[in-house]
Amino acid sequence: MTITESTQSEYYTLGAPIADEKAPAGPINERWDTRRFEAKLVNPANRRKMSIIMVGTGLAGASAAATLGEAGYHVKTFCYQDSPRRAHSIAAQGGINAAKNYRNDGDSIERLFFDTVKGGDYRARESNVYRLSQVSVEIIDQCVAQGVPFAREYGGLLDNRSFGGVQVSRTFYARGQTGQQLLLGAYQAMERQIDAGTVEMFSRHEMLDLIVIDGRARGIVARDLVTGEIQTHMADAVVLASGGYGNVFFLSTNAMGSNVTATWKAHRKGAYFGNPCYTQIHPTCIPVSGANQSKLTLMSESLRNDGRIWVPKKAGDERRPQDIPEDERDYYLERRYPAFGNLVPRDVASRAAKAVCDEGRGVGPKVDGVARGVYLDFADAIARLGRDAVEAKYGNLFDMYEQITGENPYEMPMRIYPAVHYTMGGLWVDYDLQSTIPGLFVTGEANFSDHGANRLGASALMQGLADGYFVLPPTLAHYLADNSLDPVDENHPEARATKDAVVEQIDTLLSIDGERTVDSFHRELGEIMWEYCGMERTAEGLTKAIGQIRALREEFWRNVKVPGTNNEFNQSLERAGRVADFLELGELMCIDALHREESCGGHFRAEYQTEDGEALRDDENFAYVAAWEYTGAGAKPVLHKEDLEYEYVEMKQRSYK
């Protein structure tokens, strides 16, 4: 029996293949036009009678809510934050890609398409990525018209910069706060619809389950986080734009409240989960400083253009960096990758940092007995370019670093370490962004669709807005026009049963009254995930992790302590529900990582690497999307494979030599 077969029998079963049936045939550049033309329309008078639930108000959610409201639908929008404008899209720094070719540097829709498929390590669906590239152009127009203050040149036209190693300048930006400005554009468009009466906003509300009636998504159960009231909301369709699940690692660059509950509950109700193990780990974040750390902060990757990365040659060397002579330093990226040096791709840089810290050569404060940090040193750049030039380029980042660490990077090398940043996996959707539950659509980071096994910089904002402004509205309209839905209300037996189950789970959480806080479980889960399902994965480690997660989950339901009651503002209770779902997701991520016996993009299995330590894909056996079906608590999930075919881009080994 091969490893695959034994894994299969122990951890999952193989189901029927799955395929996207919505992308039209024909030349790839005509498919989106064809789909839009073939999509049915809804008469404006009928739209007013149709209701849509939108969960999440980041780029993907707010843009869609605004657009659907403008079209005249009745949209009910939900977010757990106190205002929709606080969704974590707001923290995106760098920029948004678009194939405008304003620079006349050879960019085109084809080139953005090609870069994105290649960047995703040939694990994304060609039709979707092509459409994303096409739509990118319209996004910039829309945002400018809304008043998004993009950076401009002296002539008044939009400025661009290059990003993430591509050879063209196609990234539009608003200082280091592009996500904030794009989100405010979408938020304001949505607030305009609230004023117009088409969109109804439920802030401080959290979706706790999906209501499925006759096989279709027809509503949600939500908790009013202020009063604790458990509410039932019905609709003709439900959209999840609830973001990614990086917080399964506890420490990540995500917001404190970012969670998987909306998508996980939908998964439990029948929506397949696509490629859960594809996680992006960003190499340049500020390291963990102590055992009480609550989150991690990203430092722009652009710093690697001028900073040199090193650690002491000797393990346990605790001298100050300036006291370590040149010949006792190991510039390990320059040594191991002479061609690219400090500019190797994100995944390679991240793994190399972990390796030197595992050897005891990390720098900075020790957390749990190990120093996890490497130096990013600007001394040479300052000597070469002068302090002023370095300040002009990176001043704001240096200030931010000093604020957090209390160290001045002009005098002391920065300390950096990789951190979880983005999740490429998410609910499986077809070309229409519809999940395997009819009437349930999934947009933005919450779906799995466009980034394959690795996302390129400045592409997350592009995808969120492409889905929300331009892709979802026509495909959702087609669903509404094509199906005659019976009216349902909150007294439908299925709606009642769903609500009862939510209440029961809350009662259980509150009644355990054990010996450990919610956060202590979350931290421990994060440590397991980071150790075994993080930057480098092995069959042995993943198997161990699955055992540990199961034991931890069992303990959680026996020993968690959640103070307070349901009928009040209770942040511990909110977190408890989220951690309960992370404890299930974590296991599926490990199973997915275990079954994928290859390395690709952000998924690196130590057993499958080239001689240079690069990800070694196995296109013959693994060029597919893993779509997982939930079969019950603790039961083996079923794997459905969607084969990926590349008609337009030739599959190659990614190379940076």
Partner: protein, 249 residues
């Protein structure tokens, strides 16, 4: 470090509220202020007390969710940072630190340090946008915007809607928040057609929510973590006057 915190505890809007003293030991200067509250909450939970409720989300100074009055100052003693970016090295061992919510009449206390800022969303609903439907936009390069105008617009648009300006203002005015949006959109050519109606409607909503008027004291600018300048309020006044001169249109 060992610190004494005196924290505002209030069960809900109807509760009167009080300061409660907690001693917290074993604090590292590298911890953020909110991580000290996290640590204290872990302890309170195990001791069977209700943890302290407070808002925070991104914890990198951009979402605007967090906001505490620390020793009488909105977002604490350091300028140009939000509460989540404040670290314990800004304090001394043995300090006694008062922690209160952002107070203002329209900011009802929900629990402890959590207040209701939904009035800010309603002010934006009253015209804090440019009316352009999806798909109706011309090419992004159709209207050049002078670089300086784009930068000024950005400076105003950097507002994170945290509410520190209101908490600091002796009048409880949200004029800095209001002016930031009016100045952002009013600086851009795309924002001109609705400039007058926007200023009138948003200002009326601001007053309707119960925020006070501006008397140019400048506390708001001093505490603003994003450095929104007081001049945005002059912009509001100019736009409102301009609108009135046009017969309120």
């Amino acid at each position: 470090m060992n610190i004494t915190l005196r924290v505002w505890r209030q069960r809900d809007a109807a509760d009167k509220g009080r300061m409660v003293t907690y001693h917290v030991e074993g604090i590292s200067p590298d911890m953020s202020f909110l991580e000290v509250l996290d640590m204290l909450n872990e302890r309170l939970t195990m001791e069977g007390e209700d943890p302290i409720a407070f808002d925070s989300d991104c914890r990198e100074g951009i979402c605007g969710a967090c906001g505490l009055v620390i020793n009488g100052l909105a977002h604490g003693p350091k300028q140009m940072v939000t509460t989540c970016q404040l670290h314990m090295r800004s304090f001394n061992d043995g300090d006694v630190i008062d922690v209160e919510p952002f107070r203002a009449e329209p900011f009802t206390v929900i629990r402890d340090l959590v207040v209701d800022r939904s009035s800010f969303d309603r002010i934006i609903q009253a015209g804090g946008y440019i009316s352009v439907n999806t798909g109706a936009a011309p090419d992004a390069h159709a209207i050049p915007v002078p670089r300086e105008d784009a930068q000024d617009a950005f400076d105003a648009a950097a507002c994170i809607s945290c509410g520190a300006c209101v908490a600091a203002c002796p009048n409880g005015s949200a004029s800095l928040f209001l002016g930031a949006k009016i100045a952002h959109l009013g600086k851009l050519p795309q924002g001109q057609p609705e400039r007058h109606s926007r200023a009138l409607r948003m200002t009326a909503q601001h007053d309707h929510e119960g925020f006070g008027g501006c008397t140019q004291i400048g506390e708001c600018e001093a505490v603003c973590p994003k450095g929104i300048p007081l001049s945005v309020i002059s912009q509001t006044n100019a736009d409102v006057l301009g609108a009135l001169a046009h017969g309120g249109k």
